[in-house]
Amino acid sequence: VLESGRIDFSGQQLATKLSNALLVSSGVVAFIIGFVMQRLSYSFAAYAFGVLVTYFVALFPWPYFKRNPVVWL
């Protein structure tokens, strides 16, 4: 169980970049939504939604993380 969800190395790079970009952009979108609607709760709700989207996209071992498998001899 502790070794579950293995992905290859370029997949790990992709996972890092993707999750960072998604989190920063959900922070920016959350600020804009809250400022425009003038409600603080909307801001944090949007940010929480963005974090859940990031988990969905980058947490699980999707096939696009396994496109360059390491070839052993």
Binding site: L2, R6, S19, G27, F35, L40, S43, Y55
Partner: protein
């Protein structure tokens, strides 16, 4: 990032850092939101009377001069409510200079305003909520005083500050001196003069 738990840990820690940056951004941009409150304070009357501190029926308590004010307050503070305002704390202070201390500030009235409905204030001939008295038990030597309205916006995220909004000068009169003959007649216990 090679297994699920590593990714969970890394993503969650970066999410918490980004959340902190979001909170700091919100708190730093709040002072730049414009607000246009309207306010006016007028003073109706000032009285100065002698009384006893804490309990008027406790003869061992020390005597002091108490100033009583009646004032009018008209204010519309609803524009001070933005997304980061939790409540507004409005309070009126009497500031004066005395011989012993250069700054004296006594809060005589305060109110917590929680939403824009409560932000429309209209007080007529309102008494002061808290007693106004000097540290030295007398207002003798205090030339002039100022009645100042302050507003304190308390944010959800960020630093709260004080906004001194309007200030009117007033003077505290000397207490009324009673007839000395009548005073002497009172102190003779039981015996009629």
């Amino acid at each position: 990032m090679y297994n699920i738990f590593q990714r969970l840990s890394s993503i969650t820690s970066f999410a918490m850092s980004t959340l902190m940056v979001l909170a700091v951004l919100i708190s730093l941009t709040t002072p730049f939101i414009p607000s246009s409150p309207t306010h006016s304070v007028t003073l109706h009357s000032v009285q100065n009377a002698k009384g006893r501190v804490v309990d008027q029926f406790d003869r061992t308590a020390r005597k002091s001069e108490f100033a009583r004010l009646t004032f009018d307050l008209d204010a519309d503070l609803s524009s001070m409510f933005n997304w980061n305002t939790k409540l507004l704390f409005a309070y009126i202070t009497a500031d004066f200079e005395s011989a012993d201390y250069s700054t004296n500030r006594v809060v005589v009235w305060d109110r917590i305003i929680r939403n824009t409905r409560q932000a429309k204030l209209r007080l007529r001939k309102h008494h002061n909520k808290y007693t106004l008295r000097n540290m030295k038990q007398t207002f003798e030597g205090v030339e002039g005083a100022n009645l100042t309205l302050h507003i304190n916006p308390v944010p959800y995220l960020g630093i709260m500050y004080d906004k001194e909004v309007v200030s009117i000068p007033f003077s505290i009169p000397r207490p009324v001196v009673k007839d000395s003959a009548k005073e002497k007649a009172k102190t003779k216990r039981g015996k009629k003069v």
